[in-house]
Protein backbone atom coordinates (compact mmCIF):
# COMPACT_ATOMS: atom_id res chain seq x y z
CA UNK A 1 0.00 0.00 0.00
CA UNK A 2 1.24 3.46 -0.81
CA UNK A 3 1.94 5.65 2.18
CA UNK A 4 0.14 8.98 1.90
CA UNK A 5 2.54 11.90 2.17
CA UNK A 6 3.34 15.21 0.52
CA UNK A 7 5.84 13.32 -1.61
CA UNK A 8 3.28 10.73 -2.81
CA UNK A 9 0.89 13.57 -3.66
CA UNK A 10 3.61 15.21 -5.75
CA UNK A 11 4.69 11.96 -7.41
CA UNK A 12 1.14 11.03 -8.39
CA UNK A 13 0.43 14.52 -9.65
CA UNK A 14 3.27 14.04 -12.17
CA UNK A 15 1.43 11.04 -13.63
CA UNK A 16 -1.97 12.77 -13.69
CA UNK A 17 -3.12 10.85 -10.59
CA UNK A 18 -3.60 7.69 -12.65
CA UNK A 19 -1.49 5.42 -10.42
CA UNK A 20 -3.18 5.68 -7.02
CA UNK A 21 -3.89 2.26 -5.54
CA UNK A 22 -7.28 1.31 -4.13
CA UNK A 23 -7.36 2.21 -0.46
CA UNK A 24 -8.37 -1.24 0.71
CA UNK A 25 -8.96 -4.72 -0.67
CA UNK A 26 -12.60 -5.55 -1.40
CA UNK A 27 -12.34 -9.10 -0.04
CA UNK A 28 -14.51 -12.18 -0.55
CA UNK A 29 -15.33 -14.22 2.54
CA UNK A 30 -13.06 -17.12 3.51
CA UNK A 31 -14.66 -20.13 5.16
CA UNK A 32 -13.14 -19.48 8.58
CA UNK A 33 -11.74 -16.60 10.62
CA UNK A 34 -10.31 -16.20 14.12
CA UNK A 35 -12.75 -13.34 14.67
CA UNK A 36 -15.53 -11.68 12.70
CA UNK A 37 -16.78 -8.15 13.22
CA UNK A 38 -20.35 -7.63 12.03
CA UNK A 39 -20.85 -4.05 10.90
CA UNK A 40 -18.51 -1.97 8.74
CA UNK A 41 -19.13 1.40 10.32
CA UNK A 42 -16.54 3.42 12.17
CA UNK A 43 -16.76 1.40 15.39
CA UNK A 44 -16.54 -1.96 13.61
CA UNK A 45 -13.61 -0.93 11.45
CA UNK A 46 -11.82 0.60 14.43
CA UNK A 47 -12.36 -2.65 16.34
CA UNK A 48 -10.84 -4.65 13.49
CA UNK A 49 -7.91 -2.25 13.22
CA UNK A 50 -7.07 -2.42 16.93
CA UNK A 51 -7.58 -6.20 16.99
CA UNK A 52 -4.91 -6.44 14.31
CA UNK A 53 -2.63 -3.70 15.60
CA UNK A 54 -2.82 -4.10 19.39
CA UNK A 55 -3.59 -7.80 19.69
CA UNK A 56 -1.88 -9.30 16.65
CA UNK A 57 -5.03 -10.94 15.28
CA UNK A 58 -4.68 -10.89 11.50
CA UNK A 59 -7.07 -13.62 10.36
CA UNK A 60 -10.16 -11.50 10.91
CA UNK A 61 -12.99 -10.08 8.81
CA UNK A 62 -15.41 -7.19 8.87
CA UNK A 63 -18.73 -8.03 7.23
CA UNK A 64 -21.00 -5.20 6.14
CA UNK A 65 -24.45 -5.53 4.59
CA UNK A 66 -24.13 -2.31 2.59
CA UNK A 67 -20.91 -0.48 2.00
CA UNK A 68 -18.17 0.81 4.29
CA UNK A 69 -19.28 3.84 6.27
CA UNK A 70 -22.69 4.02 4.59
CA UNK A 71 -24.68 3.95 7.83
CA UNK A 72 -24.54 6.16 10.90
CA UNK A 73 -20.84 6.86 10.37
CA UNK A 74 -21.83 9.00 7.39
CA UNK A 75 -25.04 10.28 8.97
CA UNK A 76 -23.89 12.14 12.08
CA UNK A 77 -22.89 15.70 12.85
CA UNK A 78 -19.22 14.77 13.45
CA UNK A 79 -18.89 16.33 16.91
CA UNK A 80 -16.12 14.98 19.14
CA UNK A 81 -15.99 15.86 22.85
CA UNK A 82 -15.47 14.16 26.21
CA UNK A 83 -17.23 16.45 28.69
CA UNK A 84 -19.55 13.83 30.17
CA UNK A 85 -20.63 13.98 33.80
CA UNK A 86 -20.22 10.43 35.08
CA UNK A 87 -16.72 9.15 35.67
CA UNK A 88 -17.21 5.91 33.72
CA UNK A 89 -18.38 7.64 30.55
CA UNK A 90 -16.03 10.62 30.75
CA UNK A 91 -13.01 8.31 31.01
CA UNK A 92 -14.18 6.27 28.01
CA UNK A 93 -14.82 9.36 25.87
CA UNK A 94 -11.57 10.95 27.03
CA UNK A 95 -9.68 7.84 25.91
CA UNK A 96 -11.32 8.38 22.54
CA UNK A 97 -10.43 12.05 22.44
CA UNK A 98 -6.78 11.22 23.18
CA UNK A 99 -6.82 8.70 20.33
CA UNK A 100 -8.45 11.29 18.02
CA UNK A 101 -5.56 13.63 18.73
CA UNK A 102 -3.08 11.22 17.14
CA UNK A 103 -5.38 9.37 14.77
CA UNK A 104 -4.40 10.91 11.43
CA UNK A 105 -0.74 10.02 12.03
CA UNK A 106 -1.56 6.59 13.43
CA UNK A 107 -3.62 5.43 10.44
CA UNK A 108 -1.85 7.60 7.84
CA UNK A 109 -5.13 9.13 6.73
CA UNK A 110 -6.18 12.71 7.32
CA UNK A 111 -9.39 12.53 9.34
CA UNK A 112 -9.39 16.33 9.50
CA UNK A 113 -9.77 16.35 13.27
CA UNK A 114 -10.23 20.01 14.15
CA UNK A 115 -10.12 20.95 17.82
CA UNK A 116 -12.24 24.06 17.42
CA UNK A 117 -13.96 23.76 20.82
CA UNK A 118 -17.51 22.88 21.80
CA UNK A 119 -19.83 25.23 23.69
CA UNK A 120 -22.74 23.71 25.61
CA UNK A 121 -25.06 26.65 26.16
CA UNK A 122 -27.07 27.29 29.34
CA UNK A 123 -30.31 29.26 29.19
CA UNK A 124 -31.61 29.01 32.74
CA UNK A 125 -30.17 29.18 36.24
CA UNK A 126 -30.63 25.41 36.53
CA UNK A 127 -28.75 24.92 33.23
CA UNK A 128 -25.88 26.98 34.66
CA UNK A 129 -25.82 24.99 37.90
CA UNK A 130 -25.68 21.77 35.88
CA UNK A 131 -22.92 23.22 33.72
CA UNK A 132 -20.85 24.26 36.75
CA UNK A 133 -21.29 20.80 38.22
CA UNK A 134 -20.33 19.06 35.00
CA UNK A 135 -17.31 21.30 34.42
CA UNK A 136 -16.11 20.60 37.98
CA UNK A 137 -16.61 16.86 37.46
CA UNK A 138 -14.67 17.03 34.20
CA UNK A 139 -11.78 18.83 35.88
CA UNK A 140 -11.68 16.25 38.67
CA UNK A 141 -11.42 13.56 35.99
CA UNK A 142 -8.53 15.37 34.32
CA UNK A 143 -10.60 16.62 31.37
CA UNK A 144 -10.26 20.19 30.15
CA UNK A 145 -13.41 22.21 30.77
CA UNK A 146 -14.30 25.74 31.70
CA UNK A 147 -17.36 27.88 32.33
CA UNK A 148 -17.78 30.97 30.17
CA UNK A 149 -20.30 33.79 30.49
CA UNK A 150 -22.56 35.30 27.84
CA UNK A 151 -20.14 38.11 27.06
CA UNK A 152 -17.29 35.68 26.41
CA UNK A 153 -19.59 33.66 24.16
CA UNK A 154 -20.53 36.79 22.20
CA UNK A 155 -16.86 37.71 21.75
CA UNK A 156 -16.01 34.24 20.44
CA UNK A 157 -19.15 33.86 18.29
CA UNK A 158 -20.26 37.27 17.03
CA UNK A 159 -23.39 36.00 15.23
CA UNK A 160 -24.98 34.39 18.27
CA UNK A 161 -27.96 36.11 19.87
CA UNK A 162 -27.06 36.87 23.48
CA UNK A 163 -29.79 39.46 23.89
CA UNK A 164 -31.36 39.41 27.36
CA UNK A 165 -34.79 39.69 25.78
CA UNK A 166 -34.45 36.47 23.77
CA UNK A 167 -37.12 33.85 24.43
CA UNK A 168 -34.37 31.63 25.86
CA UNK A 169 -31.63 34.07 26.90
CA UNK A 170 -28.07 32.78 26.90
CA UNK A 171 -26.58 32.94 30.39
CA UNK A 172 -23.33 31.11 29.79
CA UNK A 173 -21.85 27.86 28.59
CA UNK A 174 -19.38 25.13 29.27
CA UNK A 175 -16.45 25.14 26.88
CA UNK A 176 -14.21 22.23 26.08
CA UNK A 177 -11.41 23.64 23.93
CA UNK A 178 -9.94 20.24 22.98
CA UNK A 179 -13.29 19.15 21.56
CA UNK A 180 -14.20 19.69 17.93
CA UNK A 181 -15.18 17.92 14.74
CA UNK A 182 -13.69 15.34 12.40
CA UNK A 183 -14.47 14.27 8.87
CA UNK A 184 -16.75 11.27 9.35
CA UNK A 185 -16.24 9.60 5.96
CA UNK A 186 -12.49 9.80 6.38
CA UNK A 187 -12.75 7.98 9.70
CA UNK A 188 -14.40 4.98 8.05
CA UNK A 189 -12.10 5.04 5.02
CA UNK A 190 -8.99 5.58 7.11
CA UNK A 191 -9.71 2.73 9.51
CA UNK A 192 -10.72 0.46 6.60
CA UNK A 193 -7.48 1.21 4.79
CA UNK A 194 -5.32 0.74 7.89
CA UNK A 195 -7.09 -2.49 8.88
CA UNK A 196 -6.90 -3.87 5.34
CA UNK A 197 -3.18 -3.11 5.30
CA UNK A 198 -2.78 -5.29 8.41
CA UNK A 199 -4.55 -8.19 6.66
CA UNK A 200 -8.16 -7.67 7.74
CA UNK A 201 -10.71 -8.82 5.14
CA UNK A 202 -13.33 -6.14 4.53
CA UNK A 203 -16.38 -7.83 3.01
CA UNK A 204 -19.09 -5.55 1.71
CA UNK A 205 -22.59 -6.47 0.43
CA UNK A 206 -22.66 -9.32 2.94
CA UNK A 207 -25.68 -9.33 5.22
CA UNK A 208 -25.78 -11.54 8.30
CA UNK A 209 -28.94 -13.65 8.34
CA UNK A 210 -28.25 -15.91 11.29
CA UNK A 211 -25.88 -16.67 14.15
CA UNK A 212 -24.99 -20.32 14.66
CA UNK A 213 -24.29 -21.72 18.12
CA UNK A 214 -23.18 -25.02 19.55
CA UNK A 215 -24.70 -25.07 23.01
CA UNK A 216 -23.77 -21.69 24.42
CA UNK A 217 -20.70 -21.23 22.18
CA UNK A 218 -20.96 -19.22 18.98
CA UNK A 219 -19.65 -21.16 15.98
CA UNK A 220 -20.21 -18.86 13.03
CA UNK A 221 -22.54 -16.63 11.05
CA UNK A 222 -24.93 -17.26 8.18
CA UNK A 223 -24.66 -14.56 5.56
CA UNK A 224 -26.02 -13.75 2.11
CA UNK A 225 -22.58 -14.81 0.86
CA UNK A 226 -22.54 -18.15 2.65
CA UNK A 227 -21.68 -19.55 6.06
CA UNK A 228 -18.54 -18.20 7.76
CA UNK A 229 -17.04 -20.05 10.70
CA UNK A 230 -15.63 -18.24 13.71
CA UNK A 231 -15.52 -18.78 17.47
CA UNK A 232 -15.47 -15.03 18.10
CA UNK A 233 -18.12 -12.71 16.68
CA UNK A 234 -18.33 -9.03 17.59
CA UNK A 235 -21.61 -7.34 16.69
CA UNK A 236 -21.32 -3.59 16.07
CA UNK A 237 -24.46 -2.68 14.14
CA UNK A 238 -25.93 0.33 15.98
CA UNK A 239 -29.68 0.60 15.20
CA UNK A 240 -29.95 -3.06 14.22
CA UNK A 241 -28.33 -4.44 17.40
CA UNK A 242 -31.63 -5.87 18.69
CA UNK A 243 -32.22 -7.63 15.35
CA UNK A 244 -28.80 -9.31 15.42
CA UNK A 245 -28.98 -10.15 19.14
CA UNK A 246 -32.36 -11.78 18.52
CA UNK A 247 -30.64 -14.18 16.10
CA UNK A 248 -28.59 -15.40 19.07
CA UNK A 249 -31.58 -15.47 21.43
CA UNK A 250 -30.51 -12.42 23.44
CA UNK A 251 -32.90 -9.65 24.49
CA UNK A 252 -31.46 -6.14 24.72
CA UNK A 253 -32.58 -3.04 26.61
CA UNK A 254 -32.54 -0.94 23.44
CA UNK A 255 -34.99 1.04 21.37
CA UNK A 256 -34.05 2.15 17.87
CA UNK A 257 -35.11 5.63 16.83
CA UNK A 258 -34.61 7.80 13.75
CA UNK A 259 -32.19 10.68 14.31
CA UNK A 260 -32.08 13.38 11.66
CA UNK A 261 -29.44 15.86 10.60
CA UNK A 262 -29.26 18.59 8.00
CA UNK A 263 -26.74 20.63 6.08
CA UNK A 264 -27.31 24.04 4.59
CA UNK A 265 -26.11 25.52 1.34
CA UNK A 266 -22.40 26.43 1.60
CA UNK A 267 -21.67 29.80 3.18
CA UNK A 268 -18.53 31.80 3.71
CA UNK A 269 -16.99 31.11 7.15
CA UNK A 270 -19.38 32.33 9.85
CA UNK A 271 -18.88 29.87 12.68
CA UNK A 272 -15.50 28.49 13.75
CA UNK A 273 -16.62 26.41 16.70
CA UNK A 274 -19.42 24.03 17.73
CA UNK A 275 -22.56 25.17 19.55
CA UNK A 276 -24.90 22.83 21.40
CA UNK A 277 -27.99 23.79 23.33
CA UNK A 278 -30.15 21.58 25.50
CA UNK A 279 -32.97 23.97 26.19
CA UNK A 280 -33.80 24.87 22.60
CA UNK A 281 -32.42 21.53 21.46
CA UNK A 282 -30.18 21.91 18.49
CA UNK A 283 -26.52 21.87 17.64
CA UNK A 284 -24.60 23.45 14.83
CA UNK A 285 -21.13 23.76 13.38
CA UNK A 286 -19.79 24.75 9.97
CA UNK A 287 -18.05 22.25 7.73
CA UNK A 288 -14.89 22.94 5.77
CA UNK A 289 -17.07 23.18 2.65
CA UNK A 290 -19.00 25.97 4.35
CA UNK A 291 -22.22 24.10 5.03
CA UNK A 292 -23.89 24.53 8.38
CA UNK A 293 -24.14 21.06 9.90
CA UNK A 294 -27.19 20.85 12.12
CA UNK A 295 -28.56 18.13 14.34
CA UNK A 296 -31.40 17.75 16.79
CA UNK A 297 -33.16 15.15 18.86
CA UNK A 298 -34.57 11.76 17.98
CA UNK A 299 -38.07 11.07 16.74
CA UNK A 300 -40.17 9.69 19.58
CA UNK A 301 -41.19 6.41 17.96
CA UNK A 302 -39.26 3.25 17.21
CA UNK A 303 -38.21 3.41 13.58
CA UNK A 304 -35.82 1.61 11.27
CA UNK A 305 -36.64 3.67 8.18
CA UNK A 306 -33.62 6.06 8.18
CA UNK A 307 -35.96 9.02 8.03
CA UNK A 308 -37.96 10.93 10.59
CA UNK A 309 -40.85 13.33 10.94
CA UNK A 310 -41.03 16.81 9.51
CA UNK A 311 -42.07 18.43 12.78
CA UNK A 312 -38.76 17.27 14.27
CA UNK A 313 -36.96 19.21 11.55
CA UNK A 314 -39.10 22.26 12.21
CA UNK A 315 -38.43 22.09 15.95
CA UNK A 316 -34.69 21.88 15.33
CA UNK A 317 -34.71 24.81 12.90
CA UNK A 318 -36.59 26.92 15.46
CA UNK A 319 -33.81 26.18 17.93
CA UNK A 320 -31.07 27.15 15.52
CA UNK A 321 -32.81 30.38 14.53
CA UNK A 322 -33.34 31.26 18.19
CA UNK A 323 -29.56 31.03 18.65
CA UNK A 324 -28.61 32.56 15.30
CA UNK A 325 -31.37 34.81 13.91
CA UNK A 326 -29.20 35.50 10.82
CA UNK A 327 -29.50 31.89 9.77
CA UNK A 328 -33.23 32.31 9.12
CA UNK A 329 -32.44 33.12 5.49
CA UNK A 330 -30.12 30.17 4.96
CA UNK A 331 -31.57 27.38 2.85
CA UNK A 332 -31.15 23.75 3.80
CA UNK A 333 -29.52 21.61 1.17
CA UNK A 334 -29.88 18.06 2.44
CA UNK A 335 -31.59 16.21 5.24
CA UNK A 336 -31.19 12.58 6.25
CA UNK A 337 -31.79 10.15 9.10
CA UNK A 338 -29.85 7.44 10.82
CA UNK A 339 -31.09 4.77 13.22
CA UNK A 340 -29.75 5.11 16.73
CA UNK A 341 -30.07 2.48 19.44
CA UNK A 342 -30.92 4.18 22.70
CA UNK A 343 -30.33 2.46 26.03
CA UNK A 344 -32.21 3.20 29.28
CA UNK A 345 -29.25 5.03 30.88
CA UNK A 346 -28.03 6.68 27.67
CA UNK A 347 -24.79 4.73 27.91
CA UNK A 348 -23.38 2.14 25.53
CA UNK A 349 -23.16 -1.60 25.99
CA UNK A 350 -19.62 -2.86 25.31
CA UNK A 351 -19.83 -6.33 26.64
CA UNK A 352 -19.56 -10.05 26.64
CA UNK A 353 -22.91 -11.82 26.39
CA UNK A 354 -24.48 -15.02 27.75
CA UNK A 355 -23.36 -16.63 24.48
CA UNK A 356 -19.67 -17.54 24.70
CA UNK A 357 -17.65 -15.86 21.94
CA UNK A 358 -20.40 -13.37 21.09
CA UNK A 359 -19.62 -9.75 21.95
CA UNK A 360 -21.84 -6.70 21.71
CA UNK A 361 -20.97 -3.09 21.02
CA UNK A 362 -24.20 -1.09 20.89
CA UNK A 363 -26.45 1.36 22.71
CA UNK A 364 -24.44 4.45 21.75
CA UNK A 365 -27.67 6.27 21.06
CA UNK A 366 -27.16 9.71 19.60
CA UNK A 367 -23.50 10.05 20.56
CA UNK A 368 -21.45 7.26 19.07
CA UNK A 369 -19.32 9.05 16.51
CA UNK A 370 -17.08 10.78 19.04
CA UNK A 371 -16.36 7.45 20.69
CA UNK A 372 -15.22 5.65 17.53
CA UNK A 373 -11.52 5.18 18.41
CA UNK A 374 -12.04 4.39 22.10
CA UNK A 375 -14.93 2.07 21.34
CA UNK A 376 -12.79 0.14 18.86
CA UNK A 377 -9.82 0.11 21.24
CA UNK A 378 -11.74 -1.30 24.23
CA UNK A 379 -13.96 -3.62 22.19
CA UNK A 380 -10.91 -5.13 20.49
CA UNK A 381 -9.43 -5.74 23.96
CA UNK A 382 -12.68 -7.39 25.07
CA UNK A 383 -12.76 -9.72 22.05
CA UNK A 384 -9.06 -10.59 22.08
CA UNK A 385 -8.86 -11.33 25.82
CA UNK A 386 -12.44 -12.51 26.34
CA UNK A 387 -12.70 -9.97 29.14
CA UNK A 388 -13.37 -6.24 29.14
CA UNK A 389 -10.78 -3.49 29.25
CA UNK A 390 -10.98 -1.53 32.52
CA UNK A 391 -12.52 1.39 30.61
CA UNK A 392 -15.47 -0.60 29.25
CA UNK A 393 -15.97 -2.97 32.21
CA UNK A 394 -18.71 -0.71 33.66
CA UNK A 395 -20.58 -0.84 30.33
CA UNK A 396 -21.58 -4.49 30.59
CA UNK A 397 -24.93 -5.97 29.65
CA UNK A 398 -25.11 -7.25 33.24
CA UNK A 399 -25.54 -3.76 34.64
CA UNK A 400 -29.25 -3.90 33.88
CA UNK A 401 -29.70 -6.81 36.29
CA UNK A 402 -27.16 -5.76 38.92
CA UNK A 403 -28.59 -2.23 38.94
CA UNK A 404 -25.21 -0.58 38.34
CA UNK A 405 -26.59 1.75 35.69
CA UNK A 406 -24.52 4.75 34.66
CA UNK A 407 -26.98 7.59 34.87
CA UNK A 408 -25.76 9.77 32.05
CA UNK A 409 -29.31 10.56 30.92
CA UNK A 410 -29.88 14.29 31.08
CA UNK A 411 -26.38 14.84 32.40
CA UNK A 412 -24.34 14.31 29.27
CA UNK A 413 -24.48 17.87 28.00
CA UNK A 414 -27.21 16.95 25.55
CA UNK A 415 -30.89 16.20 26.04
CA UNK A 416 -32.00 12.80 24.88
Amino acid sequence: MNKYSAFSLFKNALTNNKNWQASWRDASPKSKYDAIIVGGGGHGLATAYYLAKNHGMRNIAVVEKGWIGGGNTARNTTIVRSNYLCKESSLLYEKSLKLWEGLSQDINFNVMFSQRGVYNIGHTLQDMRDIERRVSANQLNGIDAEVVNAQQIKEAIPLINTSATARYPILGASLQRRAGVARHDAVAWGYARAASELGVDIIQQCEVTGIRKNGSQVTGIETTRGYIESKKVGVVVAGHASVLADMAGIRLPLESHPLQAYVSEPLKPVLDTVIMSNAVHGYVSQSDKGELVIGAGIDSYIGYGQRGSFHTIEHCMQAIIALFPNFSRVRMLRQWGGIVDVSPDACPILSKTPVEGLYLNCGWGTGGFKATPGSGWTFAHTIANNQPHELNAPFSLDRFSTGALIDEHGAAAVAH
Binding site: Y301, I302, H311, G403
Partner: protein, 95 residues
Protein backbone atom coordinates in the same frame (compact mmCIF):
# COMPACT_ATOMS: atom_id res chain seq x y z
CA UNK B 1 -45.32 13.30 10.16
CA UNK B 2 -47.57 10.38 11.00
CA UNK B 3 -51.31 10.68 10.66
CA UNK B 4 -52.67 8.69 13.59
CA UNK B 5 -56.29 7.64 13.99
CA UNK B 6 -57.20 7.97 17.64
CA UNK B 7 -59.89 5.33 18.30
CA UNK B 8 -61.83 7.98 20.22
CA UNK B 9 -61.26 11.20 18.24
CA UNK B 10 -60.36 10.15 14.68
CA UNK B 11 -57.38 11.12 12.55
CA UNK B 12 -55.00 13.69 13.99
CA UNK B 13 -51.40 14.81 13.43
CA UNK B 14 -48.60 13.00 15.26
CA UNK B 15 -47.80 16.15 17.24
CA UNK B 16 -51.00 15.65 19.27
CA UNK B 17 -49.73 12.32 20.57
CA UNK B 18 -47.03 10.99 22.88
CA UNK B 19 -45.30 7.71 22.30
CA UNK B 20 -45.52 4.93 24.87
CA UNK B 21 -43.33 2.25 23.31
CA UNK B 22 -43.91 -1.49 23.26
CA UNK B 23 -47.41 -2.62 24.22
CA UNK B 24 -48.58 -5.61 26.21
CA UNK B 25 -45.63 -5.82 28.60
CA UNK B 26 -47.05 -7.80 31.49
CA UNK B 27 -46.38 -6.63 35.00
CA UNK B 28 -45.13 -9.58 37.08
CA UNK B 29 -47.97 -11.18 39.02
CA UNK B 30 -45.67 -12.45 41.77
CA UNK B 31 -43.01 -9.77 42.12
CA UNK B 32 -41.49 -11.37 45.21
CA UNK B 33 -40.60 -14.49 43.24
CA UNK B 34 -38.57 -12.59 40.65
CA UNK B 35 -34.78 -12.68 40.60
CA UNK B 36 -32.64 -9.77 39.36
CA UNK B 37 -32.50 -11.16 35.83
CA UNK B 38 -36.30 -11.41 35.61
CA UNK B 39 -36.65 -7.87 36.90
CA UNK B 40 -34.16 -6.62 34.32
CA UNK B 41 -36.16 -8.38 31.63
CA UNK B 42 -39.40 -6.75 32.74
CA UNK B 43 -37.96 -3.29 33.36
CA UNK B 44 -35.43 -2.86 30.56
CA UNK B 45 -35.45 -5.53 27.87
CA UNK B 46 -37.53 -4.68 24.81
CA UNK B 47 -38.49 -6.37 21.56
CA UNK B 48 -37.47 -3.33 19.50
CA UNK B 49 -39.07 -5.04 16.51
CA UNK B 50 -38.04 -4.33 12.95
CA UNK B 51 -41.31 -4.77 11.05
CA UNK B 52 -44.87 -5.13 12.37
CA UNK B 53 -45.00 -3.85 15.92
CA UNK B 54 -47.74 -3.40 18.53
CA UNK B 55 -47.17 -0.20 20.46
CA UNK B 56 -49.01 2.24 22.70
CA UNK B 57 -49.68 5.90 22.08
CA UNK B 58 -51.38 8.56 24.20
CA UNK B 59 -53.57 11.30 22.71
CA UNK B 60 -51.87 13.69 25.10
CA UNK B 61 -53.25 17.00 23.82
CA UNK B 62 -56.60 15.49 22.88
CA UNK B 63 -58.71 13.01 24.80
CA UNK B 64 -55.71 11.83 26.88
CA UNK B 65 -56.60 8.18 26.28
CA UNK B 66 -53.99 5.47 25.83
CA UNK B 67 -54.59 3.20 22.84
CA UNK B 68 -52.87 0.58 20.72
CA UNK B 69 -51.27 1.07 17.33
CA UNK B 70 -50.07 -1.65 15.02
CA UNK B 71 -47.38 -0.08 12.87
CA UNK B 72 -44.62 -1.14 10.52
CA UNK B 73 -41.39 0.21 12.03
CA UNK B 74 -39.61 0.20 8.65
CA UNK B 75 -42.19 1.83 6.37
CA UNK B 76 -43.91 3.63 9.29
CA UNK B 77 -47.27 2.54 7.82
CA UNK B 78 -49.99 2.32 10.47
CA UNK B 79 -51.93 -0.91 10.01
CA UNK B 80 -54.57 -0.35 12.65
CA UNK B 81 -55.38 1.45 15.88
CA UNK B 82 -57.62 0.11 18.60
CA UNK B 83 -58.86 0.89 22.07
CA UNK B 84 -56.85 -0.51 24.95
CA UNK B 85 -58.57 -3.54 26.42
CA UNK B 86 -57.53 -7.01 27.47
CA UNK B 87 -58.69 -8.64 24.22
CA UNK B 88 -56.62 -6.26 22.14
CA UNK B 89 -53.60 -6.66 24.40
CA UNK B 90 -53.76 -10.44 24.27
CA UNK B 91 -54.11 -10.66 20.51
CA UNK B 92 -50.95 -11.33 18.58
CA UNK B 93 -49.68 -8.86 16.05
CA UNK B 94 -51.28 -9.93 12.76
CA UNK B 95 -48.79 -11.14 10.21
Amino acid sequence: MLLIKCPWCGERDETEFSYGGEAAIKRPLKPKDLNDKDWADYLFMRKNTRGLFLEQWNHSVGCRQWFLVERNTVTYEIISTKRMNSDALNSEVSQ
